[in-house]
């Protein structure tokens, strides 16, 4: 149930997530400082770091790690998967005969439909920011769909350059541009964007509260925020933490993909509410994404994929090896992907969770 609103909440047994308890016990070398939000929803922000066998990454290390990871592996990912770097949406468990690129595009459409983003001339988004834009797949798609002006931000200079090049190739340079910038400190004025889009980049954010606050800051009045992000499963009422096995699995995934500690869907919902978001709506889409990682693995194990991996650096290879861990995580019902929706002060927030049982 993990009702404590933390940013970057940890999955280790080092905080009690419910009813305001704050005992700290850890069997691992994990440093998490916990501040409970005040009843007014204020509360100091929490910084959690992902602990892997005692090794911790600070925020600057994490950001550098993320940038390097994507600098190195983005090219290979693009070769295997194309321009989208997120889960595909599938109707059935079977990944056979499914065009994965279509599934990834379908994921975008299903999110927008679920969130009720208007398509009529009057109300459709005119300005959009793609937070954690990768090589701009979503940015370009959203721009075309709404004829909107889109800015994409990423920590990786290589990705930003590649995104710019792909955008020019597709003739969309007038409407879509990219920057190297930090999702937690965006170089935009308040209220700049009608739609704030974060498709599977929230996992990288070390401070979930600050992340959501910043997303809200750059959202225009009557604008919307839509996040798709990975979470770990909600804790059961009697649980204080995930099981040691589960934590070990997540640890490995965190380490390979440069992810800080994970939240549960309930955590996210509470953070969203605590930063002033109302009507947070969430949905469980695990079943629709289950075929994704096995399908990624099939691609990676193809001749092309293996050839690419053979040339790639250790960071990329490690990321590839972690795919098996993702499959495990989904099969065990551990990894969740969250979708949510929130209107507040005229701003709607849609946060999507893809939850796997």
């Amino acid at each position: 149930m993990a009702t404590l609103a933390l940013s970057g909440c940890s999955y280790s047994p080092c905080w009690a997530g419910c009813a305001g308890k704050s005992t700290f016990q850890s069997k691992r070398k994990l440093t998490v400082s916990v501040a409970k939000p005040s009843s007014a929803g204020g509360g100091s922000s929490v910084t959690a770091v992902c602990a892997v066998g005692g090794k911790q990454r600070s925020v600057p290390e994490l950001n550098e790690g993320i940038a390097t990871f994507y600098n190195e592996s983005s090219g290979l990912w693009e070769e295997i998967w194309g321009e989208h770097m997120h889960h595909g949406y599938y109707d059935s468990e079977s990944s056979e005969n499914v065009n994965h690129i279509e599934a990834q595009i379908r994921m975008i459409d299903e999110c927008l439909k679920w969130a009720g983003i208007p398509e009529d001339e009057e109300n459709k988004p005119a300005t959009i920011v793609d937070v954690g834009c990768g090589i701009g797949g979503s940015s370009r798609y959203l721009s075309e769909k709404y004829k909107a002006n889109v800015k994409g931000i990423t920590l990786s200079p290589i990705q930003a350059q590649r995104a710019t090049a792909l955008t020019a190739e597709q003739g969309l340079s007038n409407s879509v541009s990219f920057l190297v910038a930090d999702a937690l400190n965006q170089p935009f004025a308040d209220g700049e964007f009608d739609l704030v889009w974060s498709m599977e980049s929230g996992e990288h954010m070390p401070d979930k509260r600050k992340f959501l606050q910043e997303l809200v800051r750059v959202t225009a009045p009557n604008g919307r925020v839509l996040i798709v992000t990975w979470c770990h499963r909600d804790l059961k009422p009697q649980e204080l933490s995930l099981t040691p096995d589960e934590m070990e699995l997540l640890d490995k995934i965190c380490d390979s993909y440069y992810l800080p500690a994970w939240c549960s869907p309930a955590d996210y919902v509470e953070i969203a509410q605590s930063v002033g978001l109302k009507d947070v709506k969430s949905a469980d889409w695990s079943e629709f994404v289950t075929p994704f990682w096995p399908a990624v693995m099939v691609s990676a194990l193809s001749f092309k994929g293996l050839a690419g991996l053979a040339k790639a650096g250790w960071t990329t290879i490690k990321g590839a090896l972690a795919m098996g861990l993702m499959v495990q995580g989904y099969q065990r019902g551990l990894i969740k992907c969250l979708v949510g929706n929130k209107p507040d002060l005229g701003k709607s927030f849609h946060m999507k969770m893809l939850e796997n049982r």
Partner: protein, 122 residues
């Protein structure tokens, strides 16, 4: 980086209150032709900070952007061509954006601005 992008960027270093507009330091410019779309220009016009755009145009060597614009000028195709060129066709490939308050330089490399803040700036 085009001037359209520049018009939306601000310096968000902690404590800075006047982080817009960023000044432009030019090392390398490129002109890339792009399709002229008057409707696009008319739609984007109200969202622009015109003074910032005018000053930015000057700093990339364009002095044919008026300081003030009357909306009726948006029907004048000659004006629109100049507007189009300055807004969309001139790219800062190498250079920097400079915070007006702190002087902090944000590099622009291969056309992509790097707006990452240092740890002590957040």
């Amino acid at each position: 980086m085009r001037l359209l992008t520049h018009n939306m960027l601000t310096c968000n270093i902690k404590g800075v209150t006047k982080g817009f507009p960023l000044s432009i330091e030019v090392q390398k410019l490129e002109t890339k032709e792009t399709d002229f779309n008057p409707d696009f220009l008319k739609n984007i016009f109200p969202k622009l900070e015109w003074k910032a755009f005018h000053d930015a145009a000057l700093s990339v060597g364009l002095n044919d952007i008026p300081e003030q614009v009357d909306p009726v000028m948006l029907e004048d195709s000659e004006f629109l061509q100049k507007f189009h060129h300055a807004l969309l066709e001139v790219h800062l490939e190498e250079g920097a954006l400079i915070c007006p308050e702190t002087g902090r330089r944000f590099p622009v490399s291969k056309g992509v601005p790097n707006m990452l803040l240092h740890e002590d700036e957040v």
